[in-house]
Point group: C2
């Protein structure tokens, strides 16, 4: 069973509809009546990170940044995080993890308002809950034929670091930095939602193609991505595959109505974030990758799968 199938089964078991919840499972965050967005992001030592790769405070920062990225992807303004920690051995490790989460919170002006802590007989575990407010949540399901597909930042750097570590080597400093310190896209996500520039949005945690597939499925539309337009991180050494499939970037992918290019590029300049048009939405299903010669690849469920 792959991870997406497992998630579908967990949703079927856990979700039954609720009057209190206006957005249930299947998006970057759940949303309660009154616009309370809430999500949880679990990171496990030996699966999502290793202390041979990054220091504990960096792991905490990354976990906090990943949780807050879910707020960005909904267009929500974060108000607090809560942190559950489990560690083997020295409890001072908890302090370093907490320090990192706090720094990620500081970057968007929120504090650690609660949490839980336990000993672990195995790996360290960091589970960060982010909670925020959003008037009009930007869901994954808003993509429609005629819209354009955009992405923030550059892709593939964090995955290049993981690839280097996994091969027993050491990543270039720039790639390591991409992994240890995901970008803060909260101001961007909020502005895109408030200005109605983004109509569907997701954060790229599992890889561009895979996350585009989530938007395609939720929207009942097809996303066409122009390979040559995808902004590959120089830290990824020009490896397009890392940018398409690597994941870990925590950049935002969104769809926008046609004709909004100037407004989107203005916003990017305002926030000093590179925004790149990488494709379009049409009728159909799934994700199609197009190369410069008109070749097409139907892209399936690529990207990182915790259970594969």
């Amino acid at each position: 069973m792959d991870e997406l199938s497992l998630i579908e089964r967990l949703v079927a078991i856990g979700w039954k509809g609720s009057r209190a919840v206006i957005q249930g499972p299947g998006d970057d965050a759940a949303v309660l009546r009154g616009g309370i967005a809430i999500s949880t992001d679990l990171m496990v030592e030996g699966v999502h990170f290793s202390f041979d790769w990054i220091a504990p405070a960096e792991a905490g920062f990354r976990a906090g940044a990943a949780a807050l990225s879910d707020m960005a992807a909904m267009g929500a303004a974060p108000e607090a995080v809560l942190v559950s920690l489990a560690v083997a051995g020295d409890p001072s490790l908890c302090e370093e993890l907490q320090r990192g989460v706090r720094r990620a919170g500081d970057r968007v002006g929120v504090a650690v308002a609660g949490g839980d802590v336990s000993r672990s007989p195995g790996p360290a575990v960091v589970d960060v809950v982010a909670v925020g407010r959003v008037r009009e949540p930007c869901r994954r399901s808003g993509a429609e034929a005629g819209q354009e597909v955009w992405v923030s930042g550059v892709l593939g750097g964090a995955a290049a670091a993981v690839a280097a570590w996994s091969a027993g080597g050491r990543p270039a400093p720039a790639a390591r930095e991409r992994f240890a310190s995901p970008p803060n896209r909260v101001p961007l996500g909020k502005a895109l939602a408030q200005r109605r520039l983004a109509r569907a949005m997701i954060d790229i945690s599992d890889g561009l193609v895979r996350d585009a597939g989530q938007v395609a499925r939720a929207s009942g539309a097809r996303l066409r991505i122009l390979q040559d337009a995808v902004p590959v991180d120089t830290a990824a050494g020009g490896d397009l595959n890392l940018a398409l499939e690597g994941g870990e970037d925590y950049e935002l992918m969104f769809t926008a109505p046609a004709g909004k290019e100037a407004a989107i590029l203005d916003l990017g300049r305002e926030l000093s974030v590179r925004l790149t048009r990488i494709g379009s939405v049409d009728a159909g299903a799934g994700v199609v990758l197009e190369d410069g010669e008109g070749g097409r690849t139907a892209a399936g469920r690529g990207g990182y799968d915790h259970f594969a």
Copy 2:
């Protein structure tokens, strides 16, 4: 470093005050402006439970019930839970854990609105986030001299089960049931808060004495507990120590103004919950246990410590 000291350090690292948060760390749940209560409850295989003790769906139920117990202790009405799961090996274990959390949600009318899932290279981990609404949160800090101390249900049964398992034996069925299926005190907690009967409240997860100590510390008052008044679960075999120190009960301890005995007992009858007056609040600090002969014991930081 013991667990309470560690938590104090984590709070000092993570918390800096926040205009968005009206109750920060140090209570059963954080509360955002507008009365959004949110808490997270982490359970780790080999620390909080063992699959030699209970089935996966029971572990999920227990984790869900424990998280919802935090809502009860604030007097909040739960609206949703989110679940983070990590398991080694067969991902179908996730489904059983999720099924259990769902059942705990069903008991109070909320669904699993989101979550996260990962492989674990070690123990199974279940982290349940509960979110709800509360107009006037019932904090740990509301105890004042002259109030009376009350407890719901009977205590010590769940700890008797843990004691039996830890000694290599099998608990009596009634004790096992107390551990596997914590009570639902959400209706009680809500009613106690709404009717202004409870002025300080906490759920008993770490043991009556230890949790009473939390209320004493938060309130700047002393709690005097009459040992003979504490309702010991018959499943605990009459062992007062299990009732005082055992924990795991997820009953509510609260302080109430004097003269409310009739209203409290009426509420108990209405909800079919045994409510027992076990002591009083006076000026001072800490917890004092009194026996029938007038003997007194200053009780310290008893109860379960994950890092001791």
